[in-house]
Amino acid sequence: MLTAFDWDIIRRTAPYLFREGMTFTLTLTALAMTGGIVFGTLLAMMRLASYRTLSTAASAYVNVMRSTPLVLVIFWFYFLVPWMGGWLLGATRPIQVGAFLSSLVTFMMFEAAYYCEIMRAGIQSIPRGQMWAGYALGLSYWQTMGQIVLPQAFRNMLPVLLTQTIILFQDTSLVYVLSITDFLGAASKVAQRDGRLVEMYLFVAVVYFAISFGLSSLVKRLQARLTVPGR
């Protein structure tokens, strides 16, 4: 039965899949991670702030994001981003936003909610004394946060942040619903064009597995190194 399959198609289309699709996937992952962590950290600081309005707003944002399916969030932003852009630029009509930018905003805003919770736990794991020690040295809030608390929190949470990023990497495949040519999108185009669903989807699964599994093994090793006795 296996003779009916054309495994050579993988060799023939791999350059396209990786050059077009995987590049998109990795770029999106890297940028969404960076933006997500930055925005997530800001959200975490807001959630921990003593101003009620600030912390309530941040909690509300995080809770809404965390209780909504990513697919729905992707649809939301697909329609919202042009309006948001128009509003921010002071234009009266929605602006034209490309698929890449739209999905980047989506993933940044969505993953920020998850990064926020990780960073919040990280900040809370730093003893309050560290904050006081910073103030005692005459540092301001932002200096203490930026130079003392956040670096430690970040370091403690590095493995969890990276694990979340691996999840983000897998999640980016959902841009499929916007017909974007990410890795999965590229493969499914070929699959549908040539009627090679079995070969292409199996190949996609193997590639995703290899990358995610490899990365999470690295994270595990990093975690073991970070938890050496005496730290």
């Binding site: 933006g35 965390r66 729905l72 980047l104 905003v105 897998q170 999640d171 989807y201 597995f209």
Partner: protein
């Protein structure tokens, strides 16, 4: 509010900064580029799809969709500043239209193609230009109003259409005992009712109108008010071509906004049309009027109380049905996930090494492949790898998307549950296991009476979030055609163009579900709480959704 705005600005500024290093914004690409380079735009048309797209007696392509495509061509000319753009016409059939679009032979398909999810996987559609419904035509004298009147009777439909598929499914589901005859084309089907061999003919209503209008005795016929489904027609273009789609959508929107659509519509549906000069006399349906009106965004929260075009109730009913599928999928998957996850989680803590390895492999496989890819594997790949007869049976299973989603989500989640159960058991000091063994309990007894009861209490909070994840993840099943909550919100948006209302409603429902589950689980946790033990909150957050 101000804070919020600043916050969004911060986010957007980051995005802008980031995009500088991202891929460059494309100049002209895709179809526009191709048209520009060749100087030709090719329209696909049908030969006998009256009055949408057909040959008149001089063998030139005319019709409602052709007129609309003319407007699009004008917009393309303006966009590319090519007033002398050459327009080529290329006939297509039901079978060839999608492949010819995919391989670049035609750039627009101007006909009567139903815009549905299945096709959206292959091609793209512009704004709906007509809405038809699956109804039945019968003799007035027979006095047949709805499906119930057809119980036990014989009906006919054209083979290979979505219409015959639907009536077949409904017949099975509702146990109507209808005998369904397939006819080789519309004319033959109509003849069977005319000659009394069948009581009714199920087809797109617009086709039925045209058949009735050109029949010998139009007054003898009636078309059912009840519709089995709604079929929005759209002009097809290639998928993944945003710059071309923008021009096409823009041209259509302009036709709708200026009211030009009313003239074009009247020309083809409310006046005699060539070649025979028959007047179909089909006024614009409410659904289609809605489509036209909504091209300009108007808030309308009352949308949920309006009738949806599927003829089975309001848009609210559509949402509720979607919610039903979401819950059914999530719960069925959860049962699988809990059962398997417990077993695999326990197996990963047993002293037997090969069992542990097996459990670990299970978890790694399901954790490291994106859920969407797993969904595709179960839906598209697994049936092909099975023996042909089993595969075909699977593919033809009614509700196969539902079963696929349940299995896929169940297994995917089982790996996550297994991970939590393992962590829960291992978080119990190894002394508990020893104490059980030292009492003379067997290993299974130790698990059953000592380790699992405590582990379950410990993993309750993480399991709650896993259950919430199943509910959310079930939305991924819309990619294989399951019309769950997110998909139903999207279909409301597609039919009514009330994007924000539809998505807001879905979001609120998801949030309410979240709240209900969290409160319910808290109650359960409190009921299972062990006196004297402080609920050990999880110190480290787990990465995940």
């Amino acid at each position: 509010m101000k804070n919020c705005r600043r916050l969004v600005s911060v986010g957007l500024v980051t995005v802008c900064a980031l995009t500088l290093v991202g891929p460059p914004a494309g100049a002209q690409e895709g179809t526009l580029k191709k048209i520009k380079e060749t100087g030709v735009i090719t329209l696909g048309h049908r030969d006998a799809s009256i009055p949408f797209s057909y040959f008149d007696d001089k063998q030139s392509a005319i019709g409602y969709a052709i007129d609309l495509c003319g407007k699009i061509v004008d917009a393309v000319k303006a966009e590319l500043k090519m007033p002398n753009l050459q327009v080529k016409l290329n006939p297509v059939t039901s079978a060839t239209r999608i492949p010819l679009m995919a391989n670049g032979t035609i750039d627009l398909e101007c006909g009567s193609t139903t815009n549905n999810l299945e096709r959206q996987k292959q091609v793209s559609f512009t704004i709906t230009h007509f809405v038809t419904a699956n109804r039945f035509v019968s003799k007035k004298a027979a006095n047949l109003k709805d499906l119930n009147d057809l119980k036990g009777k014989t009906v006919v439909s054209t083979s290979g259409t979505t219409n015959i598929k639907q009536i077949t499914e409904l017949n099975g589901q509702k146990n109507l005992g209808i005998t369904i005859l397939p006819a080789k084309d519309h004319a033959e089907a109509f003849l069977m009712v005319e000659t009394g061999r069948a009581a009714a003919f199920f087809m797109d209503d617009i086709l039925l109108y045209s058949l009735v209008a050109s029949s010998k005795t139009p007054a003898e016929w009636t078309i059912s008010a009840e519709a089995l489904s709604v079929e929005p027609y759209g002009i097809m273009l290639r998928k993944d071509d945003p710059s071309f789609k923008k021009v096409v959508d823009g041209a259509m929107a302009a036709v709708y906004k200026t009211g030009e659509i009313n003239k074009i519509y009247a020309k083809w549906f409310l006046s005699p049309v060539p070649p025979k000069g028959v007047n179909l006399n089909v006024p614009m349906s409410d659904v289609f009027k809605h489509v036209v009106a909504k091209v300009k965004y108007n808030w309308n929260w009352g949308i949920f109380w309006q009738l949806s075009p599927d003829g089975r109730g309001t848009y609210l009913d559509t949402l509720v049905a979607g919610l039903g599928w979401t819950l059914a999928t999530a719960m069925a998957a959860w049962v699988i996930a809990l059962a398997l996850g417990m077993i695999v989680g326990v197996v990963r803590t047993t002293p037997t090494r090969w069992l542990r390895r097996l459990g670990d492999a299970w978890v790694e496989v399901f954790r490291n492949v994106p859920l969407l890819v797993q969904m595709f594997l179960w839906f598209f790949v697994v049936p092909e790898l099975l023996p042909a007869s089993v595969g075909t049976w699977l593919k033809q299973l009614p509700r196969s998307a539902f079963y696929t989603a349940v299995v896929c989500l169940g297994l995917y989640t089982s790996a996550r549950v297994a991970e939590q159960v393992r962590a829960g058991i291992q978080s119990l000091a190894s002394g508990q296991r020893m104490a059980g063994i030292a009492l003379g309990l067997t290993l299974p007894q130790t698990y059953r009476f000592i380790l699992l009861p405590m582990a379950i209490r410990i993993v309750m909070p993480p399991l709650t979030s896993e259950f919430l994840n199943v509910i959310k993840n079930s939305a991924v099943a819309l990619t294989i055609g399951l019309v769950e909550l997110t998909a139903s919100a999207r279909s409301i948006q597609e039919f009514s163009f009330q994007v924000f209302e539809a998505f807001t409603a879905a979001t609120l429902i998801y949030m309410a579900l979240n709240l209900i589950v969290v409160i319910g689980m808290r109650r359960l946790e409190r009921r299972l709480a062990v006196p004297g033990l402080i609920g050990s909150g999880q110190a480290m957050p787990m990465a995940g959704h």
